[in-house]
Symmetry: C3
Subunit: 156 residues, 3 copies
């Protein structure tokens, strides 16, 4: 049911979720227990590499930053789907912490992260996709990525 | 009961909680489920604007930084009260992640965040107001705010 | 049972958990409720002082950074053990957010945090020690520490 709805939305939007990126160290991509799930930090990885590197407002434009946020969000959903073996056990997003590598004078991190929030709502719908959010301005990120997302969700 | 206690403490302290600030993007101010609640990042917003901008130890003094932390904490409580429709379902704070925009050589973020921790205990009392805390030194924050707070809480 | 296993692993590894460091402000070192626990940010504190200060890739070498991550991880376990009165109620790690104070061009934060992840798995074993992880590049940390760890765990 949930499976079909989300698959239909992905098809309509012409989105294919990527293979979930492998962890960059000695940890698990997702931990799920007691009704809650925790996705390790996700980057705008495509085919094993960061799609762009650098800071928004410097090497990366705001529009490219938004696309990076959407790509990282696609990786978040790929991790959740892989960890749960589909969407039937998924009960909705909870919280998104979004980190934007930014030039010192770039202060509109919320606009960049809307690229991720919009993606979540488009794929999951307004109920399962709803989430609380915290935005951060950071000077650099691991891999020199422009965006990193840490997401928690509900599942049974 | 809880409602009366907290209202009484607010009155005694001469504090009126502000209207909860609106989200800065495509997300919800609070997500609450399965006994836990998550408040989106709160800033020292007053009447729709950031009360101060800049970094503690540079444009903002430590004392002003403390006041900003208390003001952001007031917005956290305003969001929780609005999301729960009062305090009866509230079962206590859980965790505070506090981000302080800081001059490179300002390293006493815990003293700034005590402005928020103290506010929480003053309004909620020592039991409901107790929380774990993590302090961060960041070079900048969205809106050029000096302080951002990400809070989780317990509720039924 | 769990108590004995973890004690045996600590003995084998020649590790003695330190006394849990005291909070740096008006907060609790651990909050535990509803099956989950939250440890306040831990630093590489030894005998009350930060074992090293500065940024990885500048004043602190990557190898020293890894050791600092392991030391902060030891403090995390010391806090959990103190809060739970032993290991019987402990049901496993959940999530590690790792912050590495880094020179601008040092981008391999995952390698530093593996010092903590490895420590957790060595002491707790592969099941209780498994965790999701998010890595951050920050320019500075409170106390001028090279590493800060924010950990959540499961407990009954």
């Amino acid at each position: 049911m949930r499976e079909h709805e989300i698959a239909a939305r992905l098809r309509e939007a012409g989105i294919e979720l990527p293979a979930p990126p492998r962890p960059a160290g000695l940890y698990r991509p997702v931990i799920c227990r007691g009704g809650m799930g925790f996705v390790s930090g996700q980057f705008p990885i495509r085919h094993g590499n960061c799609a762009r590197t650098g800071r928004v407002g410097a090497e990366v434009s705001p529009e490219e930053g938004r696309e990076c946020a959407a790509l990282a969000a696609a990786n978040v959903l790929a991790q959740i789907r892989a960890a749960l073996g589909g969407w039937e056990r998924f009960e909705g997003l909870c919280r998104l912490d979004g980190y934007v590598a930014s030039a010192a004078d770039f202060l509109n991190q919320p606009a960049i992260l809307d690229g991720a929030s919009e993606f979540f709502v488009r794929v999951l719908g307004p109920t399962l996709g709803a989430h609380a959010r915290t935005a951060f301005h950071v000077p650099r990120l691991p891999l020199d990525a422009p965006v990193e997302l840490a997401v928690t969700f509900f599942a049974h």
